[in-house]
């Protein structure tokens, strides 16, 4: 009899929907159907049964082809690479559990690795801004229960966080928001008319690259100062009108994404958005939240935070001190400048997201990729070690975009004999210990 597993946590984006239901085959091996998930989330679950899935490590041969090897062999090769390299980039972590990260950090501390996560090419600029000016924020349930002014700035949840709008930000009815969507005013600020903008009461089309100026104008308007006729392509009347509406609200929230973090100004865009939020708290209640994209990237920042005090790009290569310096200890910069001797990628696909120059540099170094799937990075690696999918085939803790941790669930068994990230890292850690005790370092 197929059985239904409920309250499953979706392993795709930072929204961490926790109401997924799957029907699972009698032998606990196959997900037959997925309920409640968005199209991308459902696909994540369906990957579990994709034909041709790699279930054993593969090692690159002299002719460039891959040959299946045992986990023991792959672990030994990986540990030797880590011990031999004075400075290893250990990048990724966003699709694995906090428990696995913790073991990875222990290895990094021993071998002198640099632990970095996807924030480095995503919300790293937001984190820099938070280091500079702090951040007034809230949990997503607060938005659902209280928010009557919702701004999406440079983000497009309709595509990137498909259920965000229905679970938290636009449509849900909450305790003080009994009218749901009708009780909220929705604003979208973007340089394109996105699918999210279709849900907005007000769409503000900012000229590309002028977000900083427009945010500055919002602050200026909030303080009742004068503005030029247009700012970033937006007429001043519009700016005054929107700011007046925001002030009339009881609880406002700004959600922002890559349209702010990776356009001209970067961390300064976030800095001024946070300062606008801060200013608005003189008039009403206002919060701001980064639309963290890659599933548990927030968790990687949290674990690095409590173990070393920095949210990403943590350089442990001195082995007695943790360092964090954007531009210096960040993955892309390290690769482009050829500053690392080896690469260990886990639970993320830098091959698909890093600049080409960085990946060309990476491809010339000894590289291990740990990932359930074949991806762009596995194809330039010396070894690909497949593992069970976290949140589908094994549990573990993940953090939502508002930093709320949720323990994910195991839905089905991983293919026979496959290791989880935790098991694999534990064994690599043990092998590193053995090699180092034998004088390997």
């Amino acid at each position: 009899m197929p059985k239904v597993v409920t309250d499953i946590i979706c392993p795709f984006c930072g929204t961490l929907c926790d109401d997924i239901e799957c029907t699972v085959s009698d032998d606990n091996k196959t997900i037959l159907s997925v309920k409640n998930a968005c199209a991308i989330g459902a696909e994540k679950f369906n990957h579990q049964k994709l034909p041709g899935r790699v279930t054993r490590p593969r090692m690159r041969q002299a002719d460039g082809s891959f040959k299946e090897v045992s986990y023991d062999e792959a672990i030994d090769w990986t540990a030797k690479m880590l011990v031999a390299s004075k400075k290893t980039l250990m990048y990724g972590w966003a699709s694995t559990s906090c428990q696995a990260m913790s073991i990875g950090h222990e290895i990094a501390e021993k071998v002198g690795g640099i632990v970095d996560n996807c924030a480095t090419v995503c919300h790293g600029s937001s984190l820099i801004a938070i280091e500079d000016v702090g951040v007034p924020s809230c949990t997503l349930g607060e938005v659902k229960n209280r928010a009557d002014r919702v701004i999406f700035w440079g983000c497009n949840p309709a595509h990137a966080h498909p259920r965000h709008m229905s679970r938290y930000s636009i449509f849900p009815r909450g305790f003080f928001t009994v009218k749901g969507h009708k009780g909220r005013k929705i604003y979208v600020v973007d340089c394109r008319y996105t699918d999210t903008a279709k849900c907005a009461d007000t769409f503000i089309q900012v000229q590309q690259g002028y977000d900083y100026e427009l945010l500055n104008a919002f602050r200026t308007a909030a303080r009742g100062e004068s503005l030029p006729d247009t700012v970033g392509g937006v007429p001043k009347e519009k700016i005054y009108e929107v700011v007046a509406e925001l002030k009339e609200g009881r609880f406002g929230i700004i959600f922002f994404g890559m349209g702010l973090t990776h356009t001209m100004g970067r961390n300064h865009n976030i800095d001024i958005a946070i300062n606008l939020t801060r200013d608005m708290n003189d008039f009403t209640k206002f919060s701001i939240m980064a639309m963290r994209g890659h599933w548990n990237v927030t968790g990687s920042g949290q674990v690095l935070g409590w173990q070393y005090g920095f949210p990403y790009a943590v350089d442990l290569s001195r082995r007695d001190q943790a360092r964090h310096q954007t531009g210096e200890t960040t993955s892309v910069d390290l690769l482009v400048r050829n500053e690392v001797e080896a690469c260990f990628y886990i639970a993320t696909d830098p091959g698909a997201h890093f600049p080409v120059d960085a990946m060309i540099s990476s491809s010339k170094k000894p590289t291990v990729t740990v990932d359930p799937h074949i991806n762009c990075t596995t194809e330039i690696s010396d070894i690909h070690i497949p593992v069970a999918m976290v949140g589908v085939e094994t549990g573990g803790c993940a953090y939502r975009m508002d930093n709320v941790p949720i323990e994910t669930r195991k839905v089905v068994d991983a293919p026979e004999g496959m290791l989880t990230d935790e098991e694999l890292l534990t064994r690599i850690n043990k092998r590193v210990d053995e090699l180092m005790a034998a004088g390997g370092a």
């Binding site: 409920t6 607060e142 229960n145 679970r167 003080f176 409590w306 070393y308 005090g309 001190q321 941790p405």
Partner: protein, 569 residues
């Protein structure tokens, strides 16, 4: 397990009334015993001070706001952040140390337990992940209830039994230890940008007052018979003239009787009282009201307090008192973090520099010390820095030096830039009292253990108790006279035994011990109404499903569960 005899030390133990008497302490199987076997290892403690392991009653050491502080203050890692030789991991941070450093530093100072003072239930998994990663010391966490919608609704209708049933449910889901209250009502008001500054200000929408919340939670606490009492951070923290609110709050405990099987005698623990003992009505005429507050505390047996001593450092303030942090940010304009947590609480974080050149900071420093020096019963007054709010916990040795030596503290007081103004706004200059080692043992060991309901096994050195023992290189007959000497001795335990294992030797970590997570499982009668209310709130208002709310066992692999049976209450 190894056996030890700690020979010839000067033992200070309020549990047995030992005031520096030379006595041998025997350890076997993690417990203190009358006599160890002949093969026991001898530890020579001649000329040294022996006390039980210290218990931290209130510190922010694990969880979302602590980590937010670490995240957003890279500059905090500029100080003293490196790996020390030996088995330890990399240590980082000064005012908000990483979890590794937190465990090591407490142990080096002779501590074996720390209470995380504010756990937002929704973030309980985060708190426990950090506790899990903090080495050596035992820890527990207090979930916050003072701004919780369930609690408001039950207490508005005087439904103590339902409130208690809900509290017991939350404590089980979150692996929590007791009832924490932070700015009752005020933090909920803050969700709309407002506050409750007296105990009679109504909470917007919920039609309840802070006084009613605290009365109800005290009643629920005693209904359940929990090991610890209601633990309260009062309204109007940090404001000139707030001592009147403080006295109003303390008076709520009058006539309330403790009911528990743990030997706890208080019904209210009023925390970081330094921040609540202010006179004046602005920063210009700001003054100490420590005497007025302590006069009341001294005659009221069912109250315990902790001090919240200002250490005159650059630090990172953090509290579930969201409106206060916004207010503080308005004063110092440093970076501000805020997190409002659905249905439950909020938190804020702002860096702060307690500058000895600023009069107000120096007065705050005096007030913290005055509270301890005015305390008649050291078993009811505990030393804290409300870490990291008034200063990092790593400054305890320095705080002890100020309390234990009039000379050391007067050197500091008389050299403030505004010494005259500070002295005239406080009473510290007139106080000659020096806290003795015996009183210190009460304020940092026996007292907190009793207030937390742990006195059966912790806070003393009586045979049968847990073998948590700190040995300091202090000869009571030749007590060090300079501040730095006192600090060095208390900051580097000669030995720390945790559960009968040596974890620190000569100030160095030598073993990670057996860390435990303490939590309280209070059993109540089945309460269908509360079960239904919980289900409804999760369906309609929470952003996570009820099934995903609990903290799984794996987060506290070494748990120490204290069971309370309130089914007959």
């Amino acid at each position: 397990m190894s056996e030890y005899i700690i020979k010839n030390g000067h033992v200070f133990d309020p549990v047995q009334g030992l005031k520096g008497d030379k006595a041998d302490i025997s350890v076997k199987d993690g417990k203190i015993v009358d006599k160890a076997g002949s093969g026991a290892k001898v530890i020579d403690a001649k000329g040294k001070t022996v006390m039980a392991g210290a218990l931290e009653v209130h510190a922010h050491v694990a969880g979302p706001k602590v980590n937010a502080g670490r995240w957003y203050r890279p500059e905090d890692k500029h100080f003293d952040s490196h790996k020390k030789p030996g088995i330890t991991r990399i240590e980082g941070g000064k005012s908000i140390p990483t979890v590794f450093k937190t465990g090591y530093e407490y142990a080096r100072m002779g501590f074996t337990f720390a209470m995380e003072a504010a756990m937002p239930p929704l973030y309980a998994r985060h708190v426990h992940e950090e506790i899990h990663d903090t080495p050596i010391i035992d820890e527990a966490a207090l979930p916050v209830f003072g701004n919780n919608w369930f609690v408001f609704e039950y207490l508005k209708n005087k439904e103590i039994e339902n409130a208690a049933a809900y509290i017991s449910w939350v404590m089980r889901q979150t692996k929590g230890y007791g009832i924490k209250v932070v700015n009752p009502g005020g933090t909920e008001a803050w969700a709309w940008g407002l506050n409750c500054l007296t105990i009679n200000d109504p909470v917007p929408y919920f039609d309840i007052t802070p006084a009613e919340i605290m009365n109800g939670l005290m009643a629920a606490n005693e209904y359940l018979g929990l090991p610890h009492s209601m633990h309260v951070h009062q309204n109007s923290l940090g404001n000139p003239g707030n001592y009147e609110v403080t006295l109003d709050t303390l008076k709520l405990a009058e006539g309330v009787k403790p009911k528990n099987n743990f030997g706890r005698e208080q019904v209210m623990h009023s925390t970081h009282l330094q921040f609540h003992s202010y006179g004046g009505d602005n920063w210009g005429n700001f003054e100490s009201k420590a005497k007025e507050v302590m006069d009341y505390v001294n005659k009221q047996d069912n109250i315990t307090i902790d001090t919240g001593n200002v250490t005159l450092d650059e630090t990172t303030t953090m509290t579930a008192d969201g409106p206060f942090e916004h207010h503080l940010h308005g004063l110092n304009h440093l970076k501000w973090i805020n997190v409002d947590v659905e249905l439950e609480t909020a938190a804020g974080v702002v860096p702060y520099i307690y500058d000895p050149n600023i009069k107000v900071c120096a007065i705050q420093w005096c007030i913290g010390l005055e509270l301890a020096l005015y305390a008649k019963d050291p078993m009811r007054c505990f030393i804290t820095t409300d870490h990291p709010n008034a200063g990092p916990f790593t400054r305890y040795p320095r705080v002890y030096s100020w309390l234990m030596s009039k000379k050391v503290r007067d050197e500091r007081l008389n050299t403030f830039k505004n010494a005259d103004k500070v002295i005239s706004a406080t009473n510290l200059a007139e106080l000659d009292r020096e806290i003795t080692l015996y009183e210190l043992a009460a304020m940092t060991r026996a007292g907190p253990a009793k207030a937390l309901g742990l006195s059966k096994d912790y806070g003393g050195l009586k045979p049968g108790m847990n073998a948590d023992i700190a040995i300091y290189d202090i000869n009571p007959d030749k007590f060090p006279s300079s501040g730095p000497e006192i600090e060095k001795a208390f900051g580097n335990a000669a030995y720390l035994f945790k559960d009968g294992k040596i974890c620190v030797q000569d100030g160095k970590i030598v073993d990670f011990g057996n860390k435990h997570t303490f939590w309280v499982d209070a059993k109540v009668k089945e309460n269908k109404l509360v079960v239904r209310d919980i289900r409804e709130k999760f369906l309609r208002y929470y952003s996570v499903n009820e099934a995903n709310y609990p903290v799984p066992e794996s987060y506290a692999p070494h748990q120490h569960i204290i069971t309370v049976d309130a089914t007959q209450a």
